[in-house]
């Protein structure tokens, strides 16, 4: 198992290099002096000279990348032009609300999608199955930011059940404040997850061990829960892991609708202020998050499924 994880890590190296390379090249998309472009409206002669030295602009491009990487590995992502604060502290302040929201949305997605997928898979081509199919088509057609505003209007203004915006202070606050945003994000992801879960459940229901379980005379309920659902859980988790990019995309825009002080809000705010070091850092953090979640999904598979462990060695 350790060798598998080690090999998986080794595969990450080229991706990690590529990701940092893209983030590095991002501010160099515009021709001309990248320091001048980066500073833009924040430009002063002193800042310009400082940035020139910091980015190593008198060196060649590969050398500049090495300088950039050296700083990233030391946890130095530069200083925000707008906040005048180190980007790394800015990002770590904004990370918890985003992670909370992502987890919350994933949990809500699973709570809804998993039972619905079981129903649809059990009664294939029934009305239920059609409902699930249409939910998919309908769900992917909803603009999340608009839905969020409609939710605010319905459940925070017309019926004041939930707060209009914000994050709260205690854990229970967070659960209450983030319910509508998490539900909005979940609604966008549920269709994707539901469809994939349904397909994997249909595969599981057809498996030989299901027939064996039935042939042994186990009650249908036990067959479904102990043998079917348990085996279908794993692919279900994977589906969620694969869709982490969509979850993050949803989070970025929804944080801006509900004024949640997370990374997504920081990103859009930094875009309007042309705060490039912060944009670079947030982009990098999101990419790292995707890579880590994919790795964690693989590791979870390994822990939960003894067969994978066997085949890896």
């Amino acid at each position: 198992m350790l060798t598998f994880l080690a090999r998986r890590f080794a595969l990450l190296v080229p991706v990690a290099i590529g990701v940092t390379l893209i983030v590095f090249l991002l501010v160099r998309l515009i021709p001309g002096d990248p320091a001048v472009n980066m500073l833009g409206i924040h430009q002063t002669p002193a800042l310009l000279a400082q940035l020139h030295a910091q980015m190593g602009l008198d060196h060649s491009l590969p050398e500049q990348y090495l300088i950039f990487m050296g700083r990233v590995l030391q946890g130095d992502l530069g200083t925000s032009y707008f906040y005048g604060q180190s980007v790394i502290s800015l990002v770590s302040d904004r990370l918890p609300p985003t992670l909370f929201l992502l987890t919350y949305a994933s949990v809500l997605t699973t709570i809804v999608a998993f039972p619905a997928a079981i129903l649809a898979a059990l009664r294939r081509n029934s009305v239920w199955d059609q409902v699930v199919r249409f939910t998919f088509i309908f769900g992917i057609s909803l603009p999340a930011y608009w839905l969020g505003i409609i939710f605010i209007l319905a459940f925070a203004i017309a019926l004041p059940i939930f707060p209009v915006a914000g994050y709260g202070i205690t854990f229970l606050d967070h659960l209450r404040y983030l319910f509508l945003p998490a539900a909005t994000i979940a609604l966008g992801v549920i269709p994707l997850v539901l469809r994939a879960m349904r397909a994997s459940l249909i595969d599981v229901l057809r498996a030989d061990y299901m027939d064996t379980a039935r042939a042994k005379g186990l009650p249908p309920r036990t067959v479904l829960l102990r043998h079917g659902v348990r085996n279908a859980l794993l692919p279900a988790i994977t589906v969620l892991g694969v869709n982490i990019g969509w979850l993050i995309g949803g989070t970025v825009i929804i944080e801006n609708v509900f004024a949640i002080p997370g990374l997504g809000q920081l990103m859009i705010f930094s875009v309007s202020n042309r705060d490039y070091p912060t944009i670079q850092a947030v982009t990098l953090v999101f990419a790292v998050l995707v890579v880590l979640v994919n790795l964690a999904t693989d590791a979870l598979y390994l822990i939960l499924d003894p067969r994978v462990r066997g085949s890896v060695r």
Partner: protein, 286 residues
């Protein structure tokens, strides 16, 4: 052709039409109507969707203004109709360039393999490590807000999906007998790629492009909403929702209707894509 064979041909045509999945039929009709509105609407109306009529600000829906007016007194329905061409254009310009770039690169990578394949696919792996939306926003941030820069950003990020898809299809298809036959006939690679492989792999790309179109309309209007895509006062649906949001308690119609327009368009194209996928799956089985 005898009369009987014509009749048979006709009835088989009718059968194929009747066999079409209902989602495809409904999707096609809806998409047709939407395109018609986007093309003909502005010609029939021929008003300026950005002209201010402050005396009519925030009027609720009535016979004079079916969907009400916004905070500048502009008719919401008129702006939605003008917005249709903007948002369809967003979908088109976000789909076609990545599709052409991705299909070309993916086709070449799948056909020739080797270092080209390795480099392109590793590059795609890296681009895919970023959440699509985040990377597009980051690139727009550097290039500056606006529709053209959004199209550039989407092309830089979006080609990967098409490249992976086409590469996979070409890898399978190039083993087929008809490709070997074409090789034996001495056809050049370019001809084999364009005339023999492309028609056979285009179906999957087309299905993907329809769902991509939906996502891109949502993405484009999201960027408009965030102030990074189309800019106010342009009648773009996301921009309209962003404007309307400030008056959500007094005039919900300024937000609700542009959103519904997006839902209807996205639904139409989703149905079309769903039906198309169904038809192609059936053809595969035959």
């Amino acid at each position: 052709m005898t009369g009987a064979s014509v009749a048979r041909a006709r009835s088989s045509l009718w059968l194929t039409f009747r066999d079409l999945p209902s989602s495809l039929t409904v999707g096609l009709i809806l998409v047709g109507l939407i395109v018609l509105v986007a093309l003909v609407g502005p010609i029939l109306l021929s008003t300026d969707p950005t002209a201010l009529h402050l005396e009519d600000a925030l009027l609720p829906p009535s016979t004079a203004h079916f969907l009400g007016t916004d905070n500048f007194g502009r008719d919401v329905l008129v702006r939605i109709i003008y917005g249709a061409s903007t948002d369809l254009q967003i979908g088109l310009f976000c789909v076609v360039p990545p599709m052409i770039i991705g299909a070309t690169l993916g086709g070449l990578a799948g056909f020739y393999g080797g270092w080209l394949d390795i480099i392109l696919m590793r590059l795609a792996d890296v681009v895919v490590a970023f959440p699509f939306f985040v990377l597009v926003i980051a690139i727009v941030a550097v290039l500056g807000p606006g529709l053209t820069n959004m199209y550039i950003a989407v092309a830089i990020v979006g080609w990967t999906a098409y490249a992976r898809l086409i590469r996979g299809e070409v890898l399978v298809a190039k083993q087929a007998d008809y490709v070997n036959a074409a090789r034996v006939l001495g056809y050049r690679d370019g001809r084999i790629l364009l005339r023999h492989l492309l028609p056979n792999v285009a179906g999957q790309a087309l299905v993907f492009a329809t769902s991509d179109f939906v996502l891109d309309i949502l993405l484009g209007s999201s960027l408009g909403f965030l102030g990074l895509g189309a800019r106010a006062p342009a009648p773009e649906w996301g921009v309209m929702i962003a404007d309307g949001r400030n008056f959500i308690t007094q005039a919900a119609w300024t937000t609700a209707f542009p959103g519904l327009a997006i839902v209807i368009v996205a639904l139409a194209f989703s149905l079309l894509g769903d039906g198309l996928a169904d038809v192609l799956r059936v053809e595969d089985r035959r």
